[in-house]
Every structure is written in C-alpha cells, then in structure tokens.
Amino acid sequence: MSFDVSQVKRDFPIFQREIHGKRLVFLDSAASAQKPQPVIDALVRVYSQSYANVHRGIYTLAEEATAEYEQAREKVARFINASANEIVNVRNTTEGLNLLAYSWGEANIEAGDRIVVTEMEHHANLVPWQQLALRKHAELAFIPVTDEGELDLAALPPLLADGKAKLVACTMASNVLGTITPIKDVVRIAREAGAVTVVDAAQAAPHIAIDVKEIGADFLAFSGHKMCSPNVGILWGRHEMLESLPPFLFGGDMIRSVRKYDSCWNDVPYKFEAGTPSIAEAIALGAAVDYLTALGMDAIHEHEVQLVQYTMEQLADIPEVHILGPSAERRGGVVSFWMDCAHPHDIASILDEEGVCVRAGHHCAQPLHTRFGVQATARASFYVYNDEADVDALVAALRRVVKLLKR
C-alpha cells in the first residue's frame, strides 16, 4: 500500500463529522463516494471565478469555462487510455447505458436477435436491454453466475454459436458480489462472434485501472459520483462506433445546423451532449481523476483487496454472518452478507447507531439476489479513505447485532 490512509481521510471534510456521537465509518462508497477537498474546491473555484456556459461564447469567461471543460474531458480520456473525442459526458452510468439501448438498440436490434447480459448485472445494465428486447421481440439471455459468485464463462459460447447474438453487455465488477469479471475474455469471445460489446464499469472505474484499448470493447460507461466527483457520467465509445450511432437527445450544442423541417448533427462527442452540460461538475470530475491518479489506481486496488481480506478474516469469527461472492483476491472492495438472526434493515439500523454506514437491500440487483435465494443483503464497501479501524468498527457493531437480535 503506497499511500497514507490517515492523510487521505483528512482530505475528505465529511470525516470531521460524528454520527450519534460516534466517529463516521463510511462503508457505502459503492453507492456513492465521498468528495475530497480538491474536488469541492474545484466546484467552488469554477462557480466563484470562471463560470459561464460553454462552447458558444466568445468572451473570456466562456472561453475559460470551455477550456476547463474540455481539459477535464482529456483527463478522463487519459484515465482510461482513450481519446477525448470518444468521451461523452452524460449524467451517470444509467444514462450512458440507456443512450446505447435507444440509439444503438433501436437501429440494430430486430425481432429474433439475441441480447446477452449476465445474472450479476445492476438494474442499470439489465433493464434497458430487457425493455429493448421486449420492444423488439428479441431474446434476452443470461450468462449464469456460479455458486462462488463468478461468471460461468463456459455458458457464453453456446449463446453466441447461432450468430443471433448482436450484443453482449457485462459488468466489469459486481456491486454485490464484488467479483471482478474476466471482462477481456468476455469481450474477446463476444467480438469473435461478431457481437457488439458494452461494459458497465461503474464499480470498476473508481477502483481499478481501466485501459479501454486493452479491454477491446465497443462501449464502456461509468459514474463520476462513485469516484469522488460530483454527479457526471461518462460514456466511452470507440470513435467509429460513436460516429455510426444516431443521436439520442436533441437540442442545442448537438446540432450543426437546424432548419424548420430537418437538422444536421455536430461531430462526436458533441452529437451526444444536447443542452447545457454539467460544466462545473465535469471540471470537478477532472479534479477527482487527478486526485485518484495521484494516489495511483493500482495502489487503490491493492489497498481495497487488503481491507476485504482483513474483513473476511474478521467476519469468519461471527458464525451468524454469511458472505456472498468469491475470495478477497478475486474481488473489489465490496462485501455483501446476510445474517441468520437479523434482517439487513435491522443490521443497517443498528450499525448506524455505532456510526457505521452500510447499505441494506437488493442493491439494484434483484435477479442476482433471487439467484442466491435471498431477498436482501447488507453490504459494506470500501474506498481510499477506509482503514482497518473502520473494519474493526464494522465487526464490533455486527457483534452487537447478534447480541441484540439472536435468541
């Protein structure tokens, strides 16, 4: 581990606050991450010094805002080894994936085609494809998940064999199981069969280094708010793929010219950015990328693997706790579990009294929970600011749950 977690914690002003008189132990970063001071400062600086609408202004303020907005796009591009003109600013992963389902999907999916997803998808990478399939009378097929919480990759080739599969959409890391999927293999197998590939990187971009060239997919989406930034989403697409897509939202900025009865579109990526974008927020995402890059994406992943390892060791001592998913080295910083004696709601409520924030529910992955025969789980997720003391607080609070609810 090559960064100083206690220093990192100090970078996040929220950790100065207490919850019910206890130290804040934030273990819900998979839902949304906290923001470091440099990111908050970027927002304040833009709004206090250089704010104006972008792209269409020729006065100094507008040019400053535009320059910063485009520099942030370049930072994001470098962060995933892409070109700036392949980076589309959207609201979040969800919008990015829906953009694809509408724009690519409407133009390319026909009755009888097959769309392949996995059993571990977040609803954001399932429901858009499910509804596209229903609209188009296409088939939706699932790569199953093994009991260990891994993708059953052997099930993919048969789904592609008849050539009907037009699209394979797969997450890079599960937000429930923590599983880091063999995304390069999924993409390679799918592309060999001629399918377009979409990667949900919402749980990957904040935690592990991403190289879109190495992954080789056609599209990849993630959310700034899960990586220390305000809410801006990124849709990356290979340039020729983005070029070939019809636009999704129509309005200002995405046009080249508008006449009463027809219009021409602007170049990629602007073709997909209709209306005023989230300017300061996109610039702040640039600051978040700088912050994470300075810590080092590999160091971040290593840090999280160590925390998960430690957590799984500690939890092994509480027999009422049952963890879903693979071993620590196969996953990102997510540990979901259920308890014999306690409903996840009660776990979350009792933990909150101790200042420990975990999420309870289906984490927007209902079919995955159904797969494992549970309705809901409690989830602890880690990020750059968490340390072993946070894990200790979690474990102590879980012991209190047992004490309170076990009879």
Binding site: H20, S349, D352, E353, H362, H369, Q375, L405
Partner: protein, 128 residues
C-alpha cells in the same frame, strides 16, 4: 435515533409474531412489496357481517420493524371498518408501536402492513 427501535416490546413481537400464517377463504388476500428492499408481506383477512375486520393473518420474512408492525397491526385493526382503516396514518402506526421514533428509511417498513391492508380493501371494494 433508532435507539428505542430495539426495545423488548418490539423484539418480542419480532421473535414471536402474532397471527402469523394464512387464513383460509379470506375476503382479502394481498401481497405488498417494499420497493426499497424487496421485502414482501402477504396479508389475508376476513370481514364480519357488518363489514368490520374480524380476523387478520400475515406472512413474510421482514425486519424487526415490519414484523413487529404486522404482528401488532393484525390485532390493532380488529373490529375496525374499512373507512376507519383508510383514515389510519403514520402517527397511528407509530403510536401502535409504542410511540417509537422512526427514521425516514424505516417508515416504509412500519407502514407496509397498513398499506397492504388499504390496498386489499380497495381491491375488495372494486370487486364488490
């Protein structure tokens, strides 16, 4: 805030819920889902000749709040008319639970049995 959620009274209902099960030939038979967590409650009920609730049973694996609420609710509503139940609101449920303070995230759990019952009564009224 949640401190008093886990007092003995509620925990007793949680561990030994009353009226747990399914009625045969119910007038009301409804399943209601809590969208936040996917929890469901299955409520069956009978009305007497005057149209008052005469018997209620529930099923479903829920949290302390929803289970205790369901357990107490199935007794609380006996003898009530549909209009009286329609008029019940969060404060009534809170009082029923012994005056507990519910955080926002738990309100839905506590309200699940009442909501199911209201929906069941509406369905019944429509089918009549």
């Amino acid at each position: 805030m949640n401190g008093d959620l886990y007092r003995e009274q509620l925990l007793d209902h949680y561990h030994n819920p009353e009226n747990f099960g399914v009625l045969e030939d119910p007038d009301i038979d409804i399943t209601q889902e809590n969208a936040t967590c996917g929890d469901t409650i299955h409520l069956t009920a009978k009305l007497d000749d005057e149209g008052r609730i005469s018997k209620v049973m529930f099923e479903g694996h829920g949290c302390v709040v929803s289970t205790a609420s369901a357990s107490m609710f199935t007794t609380e509503v006996l003898g009530k008319t549909p209009a009286e139940i329609e008029a019940m609101q969060l404060p009534d449920i809170q009082q029923m639970l012994g005056g507990v303070t519910l955080s926002m995230g738990r309100v839905k759990c506590a309200m699940l049995p009442l909501e199911a019952m209201k929906k069941g009564l509406q369905k019944l009224a429509k089918s009549a």
